[in-house]
Amino acid sequence: MVRTWQSRDVKTTAIVDALASDLSGVLGAREVSNLRRLTGGASRETWRFDADGSAFVLQRVRPGTVGGLKQEPSVLLMAAQHGVPVPELVFDGSASTALTEPFMIVRAVEGETIARKIQRDDAFGLARQNFCRDAGAALAKLHSIDVAEVSGLENEDQVVRYRDVLDFLNQPHPTFELVFHWLRAHAPVSQRHTIVHGDFRLGNLMIGSKGIAAVLDWELAHLGDPMEDLGWLCVKAWRFGGAAPVAGLGSYDDLFASYEQHSGIAVDADAVRWWQVLGTLKWGIICISQASTHLSGVMRSHELAAIGRRVCENEYDLFQLLEGEW
């Protein structure tokens, strides 16, 4: 299964038929069928379709999104070359106008992305056992890529970035101020400077019966401390209610052991914790931002409004995480 939620945005079959026709032109395919919209990210539309008997996924930039596809197709290629499991890039449309907005087409990878199913369904028992091994291996390989091989990735101080976002949102959160204070006082001396996936967690990983089949959603890839990816994977929100620290599925020890085995580099647990704290804070700030999307009228939604009252969950998580560490 893939993410199949038929969007209300698909108003008419005419739009779908026109896109199918354009896709068939792009791929030189005789027949494009089963074209349907999947859930996508904030800045992307995601579609799945069959062309001449094979399944593909189209990612297209939403109209009005600044920055286009950025470096995503080239990062995807680079990751594939270094053994990171990723969907095969079939067409790089980052500079094309064939579908109006920039796009890319990848070969569909079968599996599951919904965390609840991965955590509970019998079909993923082996995948759950292998999760830490696969995650450690994928991240070790990604982080081994020479940064000189890719250009154009952002290289921004993540603390400064989210400090600015919180200041922009202008909502008082004394807990977050205390945590910014802690982050500045305990910043790890970054040992390495690598490509960082930026959103490596359940939901963005295609899980097959044996483990991670593909790492998806590279739109937040940037340069930075590779421990950011390990810390983000351990943020409580990404455990989806599970008790185990790594994605609700595994232990720190198993993740770190796999990462060390595949990278030859010892993991500094304190650095991962620091990134986990920043990740938890970052998720809290994103929640404030989502509620403000409702409050400002950009998108009126009681679901977005409700997220504003979940910020205190992040604040609580931060106090739990930093107990005895202040």
């Binding site: 959160h173 205390l178 204070h181 409700a306 009252r309 979940r310 205190c312 609580y316």
Partner: protein, 114 residues
């Protein structure tokens, strides 16, 4: 505080709407609307809790801010940010933590059980 309104109280009105959603609406709609319906019911329950325990929480929060010499959370956040609380951070953390617990008691008390 005295007010001129008849029963049902505001909390009882919200409860009535929430129970109607649960009893009549939820079984009659598809999975997507059920998800949004559950979010709506959670919000109504949240406001019911705020109506019940919010006034006492407001008194305690004012007391905390008074202890820290701040008019409101904005001033407290600003002063932590500016380093003006650096000599009493343990005390600040304990009081801020208490306010986080109060927020969760209204927003999602089950979160405290985990």
């Amino acid at each position: 505080m005295a007010h001129p309104h008849d029963v049902p109280t505001s909390a009882q009105l919200l409860e009535a709407v929430r129970q109607w959603l649960e009893r009549d609406v939820m079984p009659a709609v598809d999975a997507r609307l059920q998800f949004h319906g559950r979010v709506a019911m959670n919000l109504l329950a949240m406001v019911e809790r705020e109506i019940e325990i919010g006034p006492d929480q407001a008194i305690e929060h004012s007391q905390r801010l008074l202890t820290l010499g701040c008019a409101d959370d904005s001033e407290l956040a600003q002063r932590i940010k500016n380093g003006e609380m650096d000599d009493r951070l343990d005390e600040v953390r304990a009081l801020v933590y208490a306010s986080v617990i109060d927020k969760l008691q209204v927003a999602n008390p089950k979160y405290l059980e985990k």
